[in-house]
Each structure stands twice: as C-alpha cells, then as structure tokens.
Amino acid sequence: MFSQPSIIIKNLYKQFGNISVTKGVNLEVPFGKMTILLGRSGEGKSVLLKQIVGLISPTSGSIIIEGVDITTLSEDELETHFISVGYVFQFAALLDSLTVFENIGITLIENDVSEQQILKIVKEKLALVHLDESLLSRYPGEISGGQKKRVGVARTLVSEPKIIFYDEPTTGLDPITAGAIRELIFSMQKESKERTTVVVSHDLELLQYADYAALLHDGKIQFFGPASEVFESNNPYIYQFVRGLQEGPIK
C-alpha cells in the first residue's frame, strides 16, 4: 500500500486495572505522510498515542519507531527517542509559570544554547505558526486557546521532529480557529517530505488534509485506508462513523 512504515504497532494491549483500553492494536503508519486516527470519545485514542510516544507503557505488544521497539527502552533511552518525536497536547500543556518565549525555547534554554540563538529560533518557529512576536513576553494564561495550540506546535517544532503527533488539535476551538489549526497542521506536514504526522481526532474536516485514516473502536483498529476513500468505503465501522449513524457495529 505504501513504501515503508514509520511506525509499526503490533498486538498492542493496555489495561488499567480490570479495564482494557487497547485490545490488540495492529497498525502501520506510513512514512512521510499524514495519518488521522479517528474514533469516538473515550475509545482510547489518546491512550494509544501516549503509548506510541512512550508516555504510557503498554501491557503487552510492541511499538517500532524507525526500527526501534520503544517498549524495550529504558527511561534514559526513551529520552533519546523523544528527539525524533514531537507531541502536541490536546490543551497545549504549556508550562503556565513560563512565558511564551520560555515555553517555545525551553529545550534550548535547558541545553544552554546562547540567548541570541534561542531568540532567533523562537522567532523563526513563531513565524511558522503565524503568531506575532508581541506574544513572546506573555504567559499562557494571557493568550487564547487557539494561540496556545499554535505555541504548542511551535514548541514541538524547535527540536525538528521527524514524527509529530497531534492530540485532538481542533477540539474546543471555534470554526475559524479550528480551520486555521487544520491549515497549520497541513502546512507543517508539507514543510518536510521526511515528516510523518499522526493526528488523533474526531474532526472529519481533517480528512481532506490527511493521506491515510484509521478508525479505533473497541480497542482495535477497525479500518485503515487512504483518507480519500473513507467516504466511499463499505467498511461498516467507518461507514457508520463518518455518517454519524446510530445503527451499526459501533454502539
């Protein structure tokens, strides 16, 4: 179907006590493409994403990112793994005690990069996400939800990740801001052919920007295919999901 996978997930299980969230997820995310992971609220999309990123350990199964099974890595090795991975959190997760400048440049600040260099990079990333430099001295509490998400993207871009994960990037935003965020995700993907993007969302508008789509239901991937074919697909799960039908295999 595609040249080479960037992420390979094999038989991924995750249990919290007696509750199973992922029940044998198998998925191959294509390299250099944008994949959207769809699913109803509470299906465990974010949990799956956090497992792929390494924030949550799976109960069993493997997650191979660029040839490395991250489920076998130690804490220190995982830190190195994060170099190639960027994660944009649902609510941006900006550090509220730091300014926008410090938030975007935190990795550089912690690695003792010169102040001039940090300012240059931060301004560059801020321009990429179409934000004004006047925001740099503001705190996260002083900017809007849409601006926070953009700052979150800018912060992720600082480390030039090969794979970017977006967790519900358009949730809770007004239609205009949501549209701008979709465009931003798309432009970030187009910026580099080497970049793989995974977006977790139930925002169907994102399908027009994505290359591939997957549907998570009942802890398993029930559909995977080109995003352009989602509306024509006869797969009962995706058929029901994209049409918002009450009748069907998704209860």
Partner: protein
C-alpha cells in the same frame, strides 16, 4: 443463637482483606517511593544541575517562609520563657531561664517548629504545584521535550528544602531566644545579665550543630515527600487536593518520627 459462625467468618474475612489490602498498598507505595529516591540519587550523581534553579527554589521555600518562621519562633520563645518562669520561680532558679529557653529553641523547638511551619507553607505549595502540572499534562510535555523531570523539577526542590530549613531554623532559634529575652527582661523584670550569662554558660556549639543537622534532614523529608506526592498526583483537581493534604500529613509525621530518631542518634555521638 448467640454465636453466628458464618457471620463471624465473613466479618473476619472482610477484616483480613482490609488489613491485607492496606499492607500491600503500603508496601507498594514504599517501593515506589524507594524507586523515586533511587532515581533522585541517580540524577543527582549523573546529571548537571542548574544553580539558578536551586536558588530560585531557595527563594520560594526559604525566603518565602521567613516571615512566618520569625513570627512562630518569636512567640514560641516568649511562651517558653513565660512557662519556664512559672516553674523556675517556685524553686528560685530564674537565672537559668535563658539557658532553658535557648536549649529548648536550639535543640527542639526551632528545628521542629520550623519544619512543621515550612511543610504547611512550602511543602503544600510544592505538592499542589507539581500536582497541577501533572494533571494538566505539563509534566508529560516536559518528558516529550527531553527534559528530565527529576533534574528540572524534583532535585532543585529537594536540595532547596535541605538548604533552606537549617537557615530558617537558625532564624527561628535566634527569634525564640530574643522573644524569651523580651519577656524575661521587659515583662517579668528579670536581670538581663542572668539571661545572657546562662546562655553563654550552658549552650554549646554541639547543641546548635545538632539542631542544624536535624533541620537539614527535615528539609530533605519535606522536599522528597512533597515532590513525590506532587509528581504522582492523579484524579483531577480532587487528586491535587488529596496529594497536597497527604504531603503535609506524611511530611509532618515523618518529621516528628525522624526527630525522635535523630535526637537519639545525635545524643550518642
């Protein structure tokens, strides 16, 4: 029937289950806390720490708590002097009040009171801050940005607590002794010479060192427990409240228990 065997067995089983569950949970927590401390030690020995981060925390924990430490230390010394006067007056030993107040403040009240007050002010703040960061995914964000949370959040707070508490305790001791002096000389009209001479005669450097060492341990307890509770917060805003309360309760109890053990150890040295 006086004795319902089935009922009794059921009750015993329930009780055994509760005891078993509590014991397992306690040991589990102890294990996780042990791993947390081991990780702290590993990071402390292998990673570079930023002095400015520690200074920032000393400012927040130490300087921020100075006001209440001065107040509580002063009042503790004043009450101690007043109570001692009542007793010593009966046996005609008023000239020893200075030494009693000073030894009490230096060896016990200063370090313990400082620890308890700082736990209430700074320990709760640490647990609440880290807890809020945890539930709003800020800690996860730091991990994905390749920032070691022990190096960035935990160690600076533990070190700052261990540095701040002895200094705060010294302030508390001084304020307590001065408070006692004020009561003895200006309220009870005792001879100021008696107060100062008895301190010079009976207080030794080892007493002060003992108090400072104790405070350092108390600071370490405060830092470790508060950061641990904050980092392992879960369950939303309610979880932050629970973590904060637990941080204060566990730190306070641990401080009092450690105080007994340290007093015993220092006594034998």
């Amino acid at each position: 029937m006086f004795f319902d065997r089935e009922y009794f067995v059921k009750k015993t089983e329930t009780l055994a289950a509760i005891v078993g569950h509590t014991t397992i949970s306690f040991i589990e927590h102890l294990g996780v806390f042990g791993l947390f401390l081991a990780n702290c030690m590993h990071v402390l020995l292998t990673k570079k720490l930023k002095i400015e981060k520690i200074i920032e925390q000393v400012n927040s924990i130490g300087v921020g708590s100075l006001g209440i430490i001065i107040l509580t230390g002063s009042f503790a010394g004043m009450v101690f002097a007043l109570q001692s006067y009542i007793g010593f007056q009966r046996v005609g030993g008023e000239q020893y009040i200075g030494a009693v107040v000073a030894l009490g403040m230096i060896r016990e009240l200063g370090p313990v009171l400082t620890a308890l007050m700082t736990i209430g002010r700074a320990g709760s703040a640490i647990a609440a801050e880290l807890g809020s960061m945890q539930i709003t995914e800020q800690i996860d964000a730091l991990k994905t940005l390749r920032i070691n949370i022990f190096q960035y959040l935990v160690i600076p707070r533990i070190l700052a607590s261990a540095i701040s508490l002895p200094l705060l305790a010294l302030f508390s001791m001084i304020c307590g002794i001065l408070g006692g002096y004020f009561i003895c000389v200006h309220i009870l009209s005792l001879n100021p010479q008696d107060y100062t001479t008895s301190i010079k005669t009976y207080v030794e450097l080892s007493d002060i060192m003992g108090g400072v060492i104790k405070s350092m341990f108390f600071g370490f307890i405060l830092g470790c427990v508060s950061t641990y509770k904050g980092i392992f917060t879960h369950g939303g805003a309610r979880g932050v409240g629970i973590s904060t309360t637990q941080a204060v309760v566990i730190s306070s109890i641990s401080t009092l228990a450690a105080n007994y053990m340290l007093t015993k150890i220092l006594e034998n040295l």
